[in-house]
């Protein structure tokens, strides 16, 4: 029985579909996590990622429904994410409302809105075309997964380096990091702290909205309100798991995606592995990851601390 299990594991590890599913999931997480990384480097703890993803997914479906263009759909997804980000950013970092309350409420609100409007409007969507990159997509095992996906997938390959460049090679990024480490000093140096924080949340909204659109056009092919299913929180965990470095965040996305993908595969092979344990595995792994690493890494100095000038 145990040897059979090991055989199954080997089967999974040597099956292309494992990697394809894993890559799809990891990409989805990476869209959201890279934006969330930016937001957290600015010192905000944005838990409305779930709402941003779902909102983006919904608006992308509407965008496609109206124009029959996947490209417009993607832009609509970005727009949806930006709208959610707008509420989060303005309420938490202009009006000083509690960012957790706003985030949680947005998640519930978006879930309700998306479900409600989906029933009323019922947008129809389709999957985007697949682009197989010649030569690279023939690499055994991982070739299809990394270079043989539907085209919205490839946006990620530009997004991640761009995000890195934005944070480490531009003035905006320098100010963003200073705002996340020590907002009082940044303020005295003439930087508008809350403006940078709002902008970081807008960025997170844009990438997460894009992630939601990716889900619709690049993986699932339709919209339903359960499409995100709580996985936005895994993106947040990935940022922490990665020690607030972009590299670590992406690694976290890959690892978590791997865990969930493994669950699907092992069940697909007919193994009666404890279903509930597997489904909670990503969350347990995240918790474990945090427990092991959270005390050793450096969080941005002012993470989750709201800033009001004159308030020390």
């Amino acid at each position: 029985m145990i040897s059979g299990f090991f055989q199954a594991v080997v089967d999974i590890a040597s099956s292309e579909s494992t990697y394809i599913n894993g890559a799809l999931f990891a990409a989805f997480l990476a869209f959201a996590a890279s934006g969330e990384w930016v937001a957290e480097r600015a010192g905000t703890l944005n838990i409305s990622v779930e709402g941003m993803l779902l909102g983006g997914a919904f608006t992308s479906a509407i965008g496609y429904d109206i124009t029959e263009s996947v490209l417009i759909g993607l832009f609509a997804g970005v727009l949806g994410g930006l709208i959610i980000a707008g509420v989060q950013a303005e309420m938490s970092h202009r009006l000083s409302a509690d960012q957790f309350v706003v985030g949680l409420t947005l998640n519930i609100l978006v879930f309700g809105l998306a479900g409600f409007l989906d029933n009323e409007l019922e947008p129809a969507t389709k999957l985007a075309g697949r682009w197989n990159i010649p030569l690279l997509s023939d690499i055994p095992l991982v070739g299809q997964a990394l270079f043989g996906q539907r085209w919205p997938f490839y946006v990620l390959y530009a997004l991640i380096p761009f995000t890195w460049w934005l944070v480490f090679r531009t003035r905006w990024g320098l100010e963003l990091r200073s705002v996340g480490e020590n907002p009082q000093s940044a303020d005295v140096s003439g930087i508008d702290v809350n403006k940078r924080r709002r902008q970081s949340i807008y960025y997170a909204g844009a990438t997460s909205g894009l992630g939601g659109a990716f889900l619709v056009f690049g993986q699932v092919g339709l919209f339903e309100d359960s499409i995100v299913g709580g996985r936005g929180f895994i993106a947040i965990a990935a940022v922490i798991f990665g020690g607030w470095t972009l590299r670590g965040t992406i690694a976290g996305c890959v690892i978590f995606a791997g865990a969930l993908s493994f669950r699907l595969s092992i069940q697909g092979l007919g193994y009666e592995v404890n279903s509930e344990l597997l489904q909670s595995l990503p969350f347990l792994v995240t918790l474990f990851g945090m427990a092991l690493f959270a005390h050793r890494v450096r969080a941005p100095g002012a993470l989750a601390q709201p800033f009001v000038r004159g308030l020390k």
Binding site: R169, R171, L174, R177, S178, S185, V188, S189, G190, R298
Partner: protein, 529 residues
């Protein structure tokens, strides 16, 4: 006392346009007038000192110049033209720069990143680094651009602040209380650099300070502010310390407080301590042995520190800020655990880092930063007065509101705390009154040891006097007082035994009546003598 007009300070007959003219500047915060009708001129090629005690309005005035605060009335002219200075960026574009009292650096970033901060346009790492090199050569402010600020000592950090300011090539440079974290040697070096800045490049330098000695020796023109108004304009060369002191305080001061206000390092005048009359216990009430502690990243906070305090004695720990004083205070507040060493109160061993252990053992603390661990701003005055021990006003776990009110009212009365009542929220009290609440609470616990860390920081002369009296009274009543202060005058005034702290340990000591200023200065600077 000369109430000079601006004209008297100018030397040349050709009258160049002053770099800065404040005209009728007023700023109020609610009922408090921070600045009232200020008229002031600052000239190029000269160092202008603005002298006043804490709360005189000097920092507020400078904040208006740098764009952090907007005046309610009045105008500011820069090189003759009226300007609205909305933000630090505007100020920078007008050629105004400030080296801040509390540093505006970001620890996690490197020196060159910090120097770049606050500007507009693309970041140019190579350009910034070469500029830093230029400034270093020109002014003698050497620094490694790649160093992470968190790794630098206070003197070096200030250097980064100065470079950050000079990088923008300002015409008007403001130094806000620059020497509070420097050794005497570093202060001297700073003033030499200031002269350079002013003389060779015809810039205007403003030095904001409450230290008479400093202002007298390092500036050309002196403006004295008191309670938000300009009360005197003098030329440094034609005045002296006592005149400045009188102007600054505005009333005849007792010999003791005059010394405190003077900032004059002159031990020969200070002979009035009658420490020999105080009774001293046999065994120390506080015995610290080989205390060592390290912080995150392996930074040494306390290094084999040993210290004794006897009952009825005031021991003063002198030293430049940032040499472990805060950490020592934290250990005695149960906020920091020792890696090695021990603390004994009387005969009892007290574990460090264990919540409430020090307080229970009879160690009272007036912390360096009252907002950090001394007070809960959002609670009422009454609640802050029972912060450490609620047993007097509670029965079987329930707080008796009436008893609390009465207790608070009594303490408010006894310590003369100005507030709207026991239920007033702590944040509505002024700094001096907040400090009184801390004092009241700590003394009411009848401590065996009282630690007073920078107890008069941010207080006016009256409050400083009061604190000094209270500390002496406590000592007279048999409490062992440990006074930690970066103001040498305060130590000389109150302590009967002086120890010097440097790099986390005690490097030397001397009794008050044998205090040797030069030796003290050297010890504070880390030189073992």
């Amino acid at each position: 006392m000369t109430a000079g007009s601006p004209d008297q300070s100018r030397t040349g007959s050709a009258e160049p346009v002053p770099a800065v003219i404040f005209h009728n500047i007023t700023k109020t915060y609610g009922a408090v007038t921070a600045c009232g009708g200020i008229d002031l001129e600052i000239h190029r090629g000269r160092i202008h000192g603005i002298l006043g005690e804490n709360g005189a309005g000097k920092s507020t005035l400078m904040k208006m110049l740098i764009g952090l605060v907007l005046p309610d009335h009045g105008s500011i002219r820069i090189d003759g033209d009226v300007q609205q200075i909305q933000s630090p960026l505007t100020a920078a574009s007008l050629g105004i720069g400030m080296v801040h009292q509390h540093f505006s650096l970001i620890d996690a970033l490197t020196v060159w990143e910090n120097v770049s901060l606050g500007e507009a346009g693309k970041i140019d790492p190579a350009g910034v680094r070469s500029r830093i090199g230029d400034i270093a050569d020109h002014y003698g402010l050497l620094i490694d651009p790649y160093a992470r600020v968190s790794d630098l000592a206070a003197g070096l950090r200030q250097r980064v602040e100065i470079i950050k300011c000079l990088r923008r090539d300002p015409n008007i440079v403001i130094f806000d209380e620059p020497t509070s974290v420097l050794t005497p040697e570093e202060s001297h070096q700073l003033f030499v650099s200031l002269r350079q800045v002013v003389a060779s490049e015809n810039r205007a330098v403003v030095l904001v300070s409450h230290k008479l000695d400093e202002v007298l020796h390092a500036t050309d023109d002196i403006t004295i502010m008191r309670q938000g108004r300009v009360v005197d304009r003098l030329s440094a060369s034609s005045t002296d310390a006592p005149t400045l002191a009188r102007s600054m305080v505005g009333r005849e001061v007792s010999l003791r407080s005059e010394r405190a206000a003077l900032g004059v390092l002159d031990t020969t005048a200070a002979g009035s301590q009658t420490s020999s009359k105080r009774t001293r216990g046999e065994a120390p009430v506080l015995r610290i042995r080989n205390a060592s502690a390290t912080g995150p990243g392996g930074v040494t906070l306390l290094d084999d520190l040993s210290l004794d305090v006897h009952a009825g004695q005031i021991v003063g720990i002198a030293g430049v800020e940032g040499n472990g004083q805060r950490e020592l205070g934290d250990v005695l507040s149960s906020l920091l655990s020792l890696d090695h060493g021990s603390v004994h109160v009387g005969d009892t061993y007290v574990p460090s880092g264990k919540s409430g252990a020090m307080a229970r053992a009879g160690v009272g603390v007036i912390p360096e930063d009252r907002h950090d661990s001394g007070l809960v701003l959002d609670m009422s005055v009454a609640e802050n007065l029972i912060l450490v021990d609620q047993s007097l006003v509670s029965r079987r776990g329930i707080i008796d509101a009436t008893a609390l009110h009465e207790l608070a009212a009594a303490m408010i009365e006894e310590f003369d705390i100005h507030c709207s009542g026991p239920d007033a929220p702590m944040w509505s009290l002024s700094g001096g009154n907040q400090q009184r609440v801390v004092l009241a609470r700590e003394l009411s616990q009848e401590p065996t040891v009282l630690v007073a860390a920078q107890p008069t920081r941010g207080l006016d002369v009256g409050a400083i006097e009061y604190m000094g009296e209270r500390l002496k009274a406590a000592a007279a009543a048999g409490v062992g007082v440990l006074l930690i202060s970066s103001e040498l005058e305060e130590i000389l005034d109150l302590a009967e035994r002086i120890v010097v702290m440097h790099s986390g340990s005690i490097v030397g000591e001397m009794p008050r009546h044998k205090a040797d200023l030069e030796r003290l200065g050297l010890l504070m600077g880390g030189i073992k003598v």
